[in-house]
Point group: C2
């Protein structure tokens, strides 16, 4: 039996040190039981099974549409990055080299130079950008790729949330001016936020990373952060403004309208398959997953209920119903040898938004029973009204799930003015809003004093007006503090 | 200046040994000039630029739809295959190990076991299949993935046609009986053939590979083969029936309806980005590429023609026209500082199917000029009729290109009864239909006697009734012989 919310409260009383709480167990079990993923023979890499991969296909398709609407074009660059290229931007190299998987041999030949499996593609892309970009006419250049990347994590892997290979988009854009580059920040974060809120029913919050947490090679990093039910914060999609850091390292220069050479301004941004894990973690319950309708591989499942003599009649009607609703992602569960009860349980575990039950008595009355996965509510609906009814229910489930996520975030957030309050809040698995003087020493001390916690990022909306939560000096920033994955 | 057909004839007189003919030069130049791809800093790997990648996106989308229609589901398996797994099926290992790129280090750690970058995913997928498949209820299992693979070729790379990393689909299906598995052959080859004929305007021919040419680990391999203008044959999409070879190596067993354990029957099949190269090679001319409308990233380009005083009026009308035709993939070339002549040339080089010219005089007469890329024909069309006209022209171009490909294949094919005829035919850059006794020695001798040529495969439609082209003994098969990439 899966257990999520009931036990989490109990567990929180045990204190903050527990790495493997009931939530983690719930999460892994729920995902495996729902047949979304499986472990693979390669340690730290997971297999996307059809049900899990379909969610990514939908997210990818919807995000890609939005990218194309703002003029982003897709490309594909090689998987390999020669070591010499990766070394061109030193901060970038330092940030990634502990996690790089290296190809050193091909066939029976030792390679002259090691090749990195891309942990991210700045180095390989910008070497070409420097050739392609000549004049202001070539700008802006707005390219993106959907691909696989490898970061050889040495921590315990968690499906979706921490894997050595993952799938993502990486946008790499180049502009003639800093101003233009900064304008893109709003566009991209809006697209990601829309995907999270409108499709995945995830209410996140945007934070700006501190200097020590920003992307290796960026001037600044902003991310949509998400709070999980166990009080841990996971970084969702992010946006990096790279200023001229990479353009100087890779010599990406253009002739401006006055015929003078200038270094270009760059951004990069990404959403990864990790976001699926975040969504599933937020929306499940003790029965298993709850998948928001807009990204659910199956939105409606029809369960026919019959005794042997009614079988042909019920199946016929169920098929008619399926055809009637075929503009939705719909499945008729015709499996034999399984009871309706087993099927109810099975699809609840998989988090399918709507279940339709149809039996001989329903057919007599020209009705069906509709059960919502999110609230568990049952409703009898006339078949003639079903075309109208279904979109309304799906929409309502979608909105309800977003509300749940919003309220979880709100309830899960508190404030702390000093270390005593902070330690207590983190113990209670909260996301904490505090203030910080901006001194790296205080940031480091917070990490040391509360194992696993850190300054997630800066809250740019609110103005600092109090004291640093660690040193008590005047603060410079309002910050989010929490444990993180 | 690009040269394709004119020079090819001349070159063929020089004989069959010439590896780098004008065609190869034309091909590489045409593709680079059309801005489809670029060379990368990783030798043998190419970059898909937006225009080139878009073609793949369209092919992928249309093929994937067809896969889904026959119940194929997409998955994603890890990029890495542990060496021990790759060794499980020995023929498979032997076939691929000379081309495998190996990861041996991660971060600063030497890995305990080498990891292959997937050259194909049988080994990693079937290890899981053996866990997942338990009973006849789990069958058929029809999974596919769209991904990148690496085969470390040591031959000279050619964009699309021969690269160390390429993109593809790999379908891996499992059935309870051989009969069911064999039924899938027709379905899959039909899908691939439809994509080639209806979308890419490629007329290929299906051949069954000989024992020495079949996929490493398959019982048999069939492929759609394509003839290039230089007389070389390139293997297009393929289908492999694996019988129980892998299921025995990976222990993929299921309980049949009688409760008895049986080994499962398997197929694998693939279409790769190489097919784009084939299409471009078949359809270009001395002006550059010609891209079939159904896969063209841009189907129509509008070129406004004006003197300065007419600019606002012409651009306004051109934009109206673009909006009117926005259900097509259409582009209005508003670039300044370029003459219409330059633009004509540029889009011809890129192979855009339709060019629309609009100037002040056309506007007065409520008309435009439409130019077809395939035939170069110009036509004046009233703006009010354009919605009707455009789909007809696109359709006609699509059909015309397929006819051209069919006629090239027909004209490029000849027969040979003995080695003298065969050598002459290959010299003339022909695809040759011959007969073969089935003896591997004769197959090898053909390779030895005519450098670069080989038995492409067996023609299963026609019945052998003559003598082996090499040894003169009674023949067993009608075969295709040609030079290949």
């Amino acid at each position: 039996m899966l257990k999520k919310k009931s036990k989490i409260k109990k567990k929180s009383e045990l204190g903050i040190a527990a790495e493997k709480d009931e939530f983690s167990e719930w999460y892994t079990q729920a995902i495996i039981k729902a047949d979304l993923v499986d472990y693979s023979p390669v340690s730290g890499c997971m297999i996307f099974k059809p049900f899990g991969y379909k969610i990514w296909e939908i997210i990818k398709q919807e995000t890609d549409k939005k990218f194309k609407n703002i003029g982003i074009k897709n490309v594909y660059f090689p998987l390999f990055i020669p070591e010499s290229l990766l070394k061109k931007e030193t901060t970038h190299l330092k940030g990634f080299s502990p996690e790089v998987a290296w190809v050193t041999e091909a066939g029976n030949t030792k390679l002259q130079e090691r090749l990195a499996i891309r942990p991210t593609s700045e180095a390989i892309m910008y070497a070409s950008y420097s050739k392609w970009i000549r004049s202001w006419r070539d700008l802006p250049l707005k390219y993106n790729q959907w691909n696989n990347v490898v970061r050889w994590e040495f921590k315990h892997p968690i499906p979706f949330l921490r894997t050595r290979e993952f799938l993502w988009n990486e946008g790499h854009t180049v502009f003639a001016t800093k101003k233009e580059a900064l304008k893109e920040e709003k566009q991209i974060l809006e697209i990601y936020n829309d995907i999270l809120r409108d499709y995945m029913a995830i209410a996140g919050f945007i934070s700006k990373k501190t200097e020590s947490e920003k992307f290796a090679g960026a001037e600044f990093t902003k991310a949509i952060e998400c709070l999980l039910p166990n009080g841990r914060v996971v970084q969702g999609p992010d946006f990096h403004h790279d200023s001229q850091i990479f353009s100087k390292a890779f010599n990406i220069q253009f002739l401006n309208k006055q015929g003078k050479k200038e270094y270009a301004w760059q951004n990069t941004w990404a959403i990864t398959t990790r976001i699926i894990g975040i969504m599933l973690a937020i929306h499940g319950d003790n029965k298993g997953l709850i998948i928001p309708p807009k990204v659910a591989p199956i939105q409606i499942v029809i369960i026919p209920i019959f005794k042997t003599q009614d079988k042909p009649k019920v199946l016929k009607k169920a098929k008619e119903l399926k055809n009637k609703l075929n503009k939705f992602r719909i499945l008729l569960d015709e499996r034999e040898d399984y009871t309706p009860g087993y099927k109810f349980h099975d699809w609840e575990m998989k988090g399918i938004p709507i279940r339709i039950e149809i039996g001989p008595k329903d057919i007599e009355k020209n009705q069906v029973i509709i059960v919502r996965r999110d609230k568990g509510e049952k409703e009898t609906v006339k078949i003639k009204n079903i075309d109208n009814k279904i979109p309304k229910i799906l929409d309502d489930i979608q909105k309800n799930l977003l509300k749940i996520s919003e309220s979880m975030l709100k309830k899960g957030t508190t404030t702390a003015k000093n270390m005593l309050e902070l330690i207590k809040a983190i113990k209670n698995k909260k996301l904490v809003i505090s203030e910080w003087c901006g001194n790296k020493k205080c940031e480091d001390w917070i990490k040391t004093k509360i194992k696993g916690a850190k300054i997630i990022g800066i809250n740019e909306q609110d103005k600092a007006k109090g004291k640093c939560v660690y040193c008590g000096e005047n603060s410079q920033y309002v910050v989010y503090i929490a444990k993180s994955y």
